[in-house]
Amino acid sequence: MSAHFRHLLYVMRENPVTFFSFVLFFLLMALGLFGPWLAPYDPLASDTANALRPPSWAHPFGTDNLGRDVFSRVITATRLDLAISVAAVSLSFVAGSAAGVCAGYFGGVTDKLIGRLTDTIMAFPLFVLAMGIVSALGNTIENIVYTTAVINFPFYARVARAEANSRREAGFVEAARLSGNGHGRILLFHMGPNIMPPMMVQISLNMGYAILNAAGLSFIGLGVRPPTPEWGIMVAEGAKFIVSGEWWLAIFPGAALMLAVLCFNLLGDGLRDLIDPRMRT
């Protein structure tokens, strides 16, 4: 354990960028957990007498077209954005790794079927597929989560399949099998923990991608519903006000969005370093 910790410290010292990403990550988590209590105003309360005010002491990020406080909205949005990406990524992680491990472990027809399924999904440009699914199912938060999960599914399935395949004949699996464990137990308790590290990297990178994906959907009008504060929709809405000079509507949620995605991307890199320093790219 302490060896792990020393390695962590080493990576942090060697790599200030990773350190920065860890700090950012804790900040995001704090905002996600305590955001609603930290926001100075009700993020939904309109005040048309004070609409479109530039940043000031009272409203550090200004107010939007309905007079709502942009700062409060950006802070409150953290929870929803994180929730969407966490939910989507967990779903695709669970489904993807289960399918992938089965494919890698059993091989044969199972492998072929799951392989074709992932190939088919991968054959679509992912954002295009997401657009199609959300507009077919309707743009609710649940559907955005499902869609994001579907398009991320193949990544997990592939990584899990490769990992499981290479361990199928490994000693520890053979030992488990000989000591009378069923396939279910072997997959869950013996394969599972072993494929976790590479999956962690994928999770972190996908978190960022999930946020971007939701924001892109919002931009073309297929995202989260109003008045719910969400970064992507705030940028998309705010974009309409840039030319008329009300830049604060788009910039602040945009910066928050960028920082969150950046954080997960850097974190993914950092985790990769932790797990296997030689893999660093």
Partner: protein
């Protein structure tokens, strides 16, 4: 060995067949599940039940799904993708005119990304874990963390609206220019064929901002792959040998290391290309680019089945073909690589 390669290529082609079938089915189901009744949408603002029913019949939407699918397959085998109802043109024709626009933009974006990312990656690889390395990593990661539509809008605001340095975001050519005669559909090439440098220049100006938006998004994977591949090669035995035999740093870097690192970068290029095609949808919307992405958004909003189907199908098939091409290229270039896995 040659027949081996052919055999492998044939097998790879066969492997692609079920995927193509899957794509066709998924596309069909997806478009039928779209909300809104196209018949109602196209009946116009004051239509009544009867005229809506007439339109539904004329679109073939009164038939059952399996029937519609069968008709769709038959048409597809004749290369007929149906007619887009919102633009009134055959979908095949729409795709044929719009695809070059999207491809030209995407390739330009890719070209810019490669031109920046490869030197950046090499720079980072020669000085691993230095300040330069970290900075490179941070910059390219920021690039991939920005939503493309956000980047695009800001570039437009700064370079067109505030500074007036770039032309208006109005697609492939400004209002006063006329498209060159159609040869390849790529304006940059067509204008050169026509010997029309003004149009070439106009088309190039028009492309700078959207292509940069795409490039910013594509830097990260390319720069990182270059860095990783270079690091791997630089620590290999033959580079060490080359260094020991007193070859200059420059020669080692460009002749030995880079040429060996290029293969994984090429693979990444294929992945990045498909990734950009997806991102292109949003960029086209921002820059009013008359490509297939903006076409698809419109079609999706209008529940224009034929158009959505055609678009998604074209995108997916292109990706399958691209991967096939890369795989085949690999077998030809490096016969040690099998087509498994």
């Amino acid at each position: 060995m040659k027949s081996d390669s052919l055999f492998l290529i044939g097998r790879r082609l066969l492997q692609a067949a079920p995927v193509v079938m899957g794509i066709i089915v998924v596309t069909f189901i997806l478009t039928r599940a779209l909300p809104g009744d196209p018949a109602v949408f196209f009946a116009g603002p004051a239509a009544d039940e009867k005229s809506i029913a007439e339109i539904r019949a004329s679109l073939g939407l009164d038939k059952s799904w399996p029937e519609q699918f069968w008709v769709y397959l038959q048409n597809l085998s004749r290369g007929d993708l149906g007619k887009s109802i919102s633009t009134g043109q055959p979908v095949m024709e729409e795709l044929a005119t719009r695809l070059p626009a999207s491809l030209e933009l995407t390739l330009m974006g890719l070209f810019l990304a490669v031109a920046i990312a490869i030197p950046l990656g090499m720079l980072a690889a020669t000085r691993p874990n230095s300040l330069v390395d970290h900075l490179c990593r941070l910059v390219v990661t920021i690039g991939v963390s920005l939503p493309t539509f956000f980047t695009g809008l800001f570039l437009v605001y700064i370079f067109y609206f505030l500074l007036g340095l770039s032309p208006a975001p109005l697609g492939r050519l400004s209002i006063i220019h006329i498209a060159p005669d159609h040869v390849t559909g790529f304006y940059l090439i067509d204008s050169l064929i026509a010997g029309d440098f003004e149009v070439f220049r106009a088309a190039l100006y028009q492309m700078i901002l959207p292509a940069s938006t795409l490039a910013i998004f594509a830097l990260a994977p390319l720069a990182r792959m270059t860095r990783a591949a270079m690091l791997g090669v630089l620590s290999s035995d033959f580079v060490r040998t080359a260094r020991a035999s007193g070859l200059s740093r420059k020669t080692i870097l460009w002749v030995y290391a880079f040429q060996n690192a290029i293969l994984p970068v090429l693979t990444t290029l294929g992945m990045v290309f498909s990734f950009l095609l997806g991102a292109n949808v949003l960029v086209e919307k921002v820059f009013a680019w008359p490509g297939i992405g903006s076409f698809a958004i419109e079609a999706l909003i209008a529940s224009d089945y034929a158009a959505v189907q055609g678009f998604v199908l074209a995108m997916a098939l292109m990706y399958v073909l691209l991967n096939l091409a890369i795989d085949i290229l690999y077998t030809v270039v490096d016969p040690r690589i099998g087509l498994e896995g």
